[in-house]
């Protein structure tokens, strides 16, 4: 080591402790170090100093999603086929949605407008809705407001209306969530009420009257951080439905060679218990698992398993592959040929015993920006749903979103 090097090291050893102590410096290195290092450390900054002045009303994000469903299959409830045999369940659905999220002080508002344009073979065969039954438009407006009461507690209020050609529906909900143990655990509870008011038809398409259905739903959920890479969630939901619980034009083949209307109970209580876990993987990936048990008083049991595998490709791009398995027993009164005087009967293939599989994937792009636009979101996905009683569906979806 040269003499000049030794001089430099000695000067550093002399100056650095003084600089960290905030003392004014002098000597050969005093020029560059006498500025910021010599200043006393300022006190803690206020929220306003870090985040800026609070904004009274601010659009946080705008997002739009478009989904297309293309369904093929056959079911005995459909009349789009031979008398007494399974009819077509051919359906296409175009489903645009738009969502706007805004902040207003301690409130977060979410306005959501989904639209369904359904083109279905089955109702057209019955012609239940004048001449326009082949194509049916439906839309909803839903507004949810969340009030952040304190850093641990949030309350939510939501209300919405759904309009369909022969159906009017209103929904209303309340929810509360509270975090515990430094946000390691979050408990949520919500109740929802849906009222449906719709036309009743015979299976031959004759309008009879207006009928009513009520659905009351309660949910309890617990999320818990298990480790720095693991989150778990358990939830229980119960729904009690009363009134006319079918669409009223589903038909049932009868043993005398004719068809009759579905006969369903006027009360249904449904229970669902689900457990979910998400695990971060060391190669910038994640895996999610779900198991769900369902039971209701119509004799239907369901078991669902779902696995999602995520892989981050770049800071702004990740991919998801997903698989879902579902098995359900049929309802107690499911039949493909009922007796004329059966008190309860349904040939609806959705209430039959079957196995179902969904395989799909999603690509998500989140591009960061500077300025008023913080993030641009894009995603593209595809799912293939197929089940053991002759139904398969292709689902395409894409979304575009802006975060401000």
């Amino acid at each position: 080591m040269s003499f000049r090097s030794l001089q430099f090291v000695a000067a550093l050893l002399t100056i650095l402790p003084r600089a960290y102590a905030g003392e004014p410096l002098s000597g050969p290195l005093s020029g560059p170090l006498s500025g910021p290092l010599a200043q006393p450390v300022p006190g803690p900054l206020s929220d306003e100093a870090v985040l800026g002045e609070p904004v009274p009303f601010h659009i946080e994000s705008v997002r739009a999603r478009y989904t297309n469903y293309d369904q093929y299959g056959h079911g005995f409830q459909s009349q789009a086929g031979p008398l007494g045999g399974p009819g077509s369940e051919r359906v296409t659905v175009e489903q645009p949605q738009i969502e706007v999220v805004a902040k207003q002080g301690k409130f977060t508002h979410r306005l959501w407008i989904p639209v369904d344009v359904v083109t279905a073979a089955s109702p057209d065969a019955v012609d239940v809705i004048s001449t326009a039954s082949y194509r049916n438009e439906a839309g909803s407006i839903d507004l949810a407001s969340t009030y952040q009461y304190d850093p641990k507690t949030a309350y939510q209020l939501r209300a919405g209306v759904h309009l369909e050609e022969e159906l009017r529906s209103w929904n209303f909900g309340l929810g509360v969530s509270r975090s515990f143990a430094d946000d390691n655990a979050v408990v949520s509870f919500s109740v929802n009420q849906v009222l449906d008011w719709f036309d009743q038809f015979t299976v031959h398409g004759v309008r009879q009257s207006r009928v009513f259905r009520s659905s009351t739903n309660g949910n309890l959920s617990l999320s818990q951080l298990l480790s720095p890479t693991t989150i778990a969630n358990v939830s229980y939901g119960v729904t009690v439905q009363t009134g006319v619980l079918g669409n009223t034009w589903n038909s049932v083949p009868l043993d005398d060679g004719t068809i009759g209307a579905e006969k369903l109970p006027r009360l249904r209580h449904r229970h669902a218990l689900a457990g979910r876990i998400a695990q971060y993987l060391p190669w910038h990936g994640a895996i999610h698992g779900l198991y769900r048990l369902y039971v209701d008083n119509w004799g239907l049991w369901g078991n669902t398993l779902e696995v999602e595998l995520y892989q981050r490709i770049a800071r702004w791009l990740y991919l998801r592959a997903n698989y879902r398995f579902h098995h359900q027993t049929g309802i107690d009164f499911f039949t493909t040929r009922a007796s004329v005087d059966a008190p309860l009967r349904s040939a609806d293939s959705d209430l039959a015993p079957f196995f179902a599989h969904t395989v799909g994937g999603l690509a998500v792009v989140d591009l960061p920006f500077r300025g008023s636009l913080n993030q641009l979101h894009l995603d593209f996905g595809y799912d293939r749903y197929f089940r053991s009683n002759d139904l398969h569906v292709n689902v395409f979806t894409c979304a575009l979103g802006f975060r401000f």
């Binding site: 430094d182 849906v194 009351t216 720095p228 989150i231 729904t239 449904r270 579902h326 569906v393 979806t397």
Partner: protein, 69 residues
């Protein structure tokens, strides 16, 4: 019954784990969220609710609409 009590006890014990705020960087990744996009969740929920009798009953009210989709 004894096994159930032990299982619940183990779950509660695991549930008491505390993860400090400065060790949650992986948990904050959007990939770790159970529901990243409410509209995608709706799409999924409506799809299954209208095709499977054993879907619904949790998360959101089931049975609204005719289910003919």
């Amino acid at each position: 019954m004894k096994r159930v009590v032990i299982l619940v006890g183990l779950c509660l014990e695991v549930g008491c784990a505390i993860v400090p705020q400065n060790r949650r960087v992986h948990l904050a990744d959007p990939m770790m969220s159970f529901e990243t996009d409410a509209m995608e969740a709706h799409k999924k929920q409506k799809f299954y609710n209208s095709r499977e009798g054993a879907a619904g009953g949790d998360g959101a009210p089931a049975g609204g609409g005719c289910g003919c989709q």
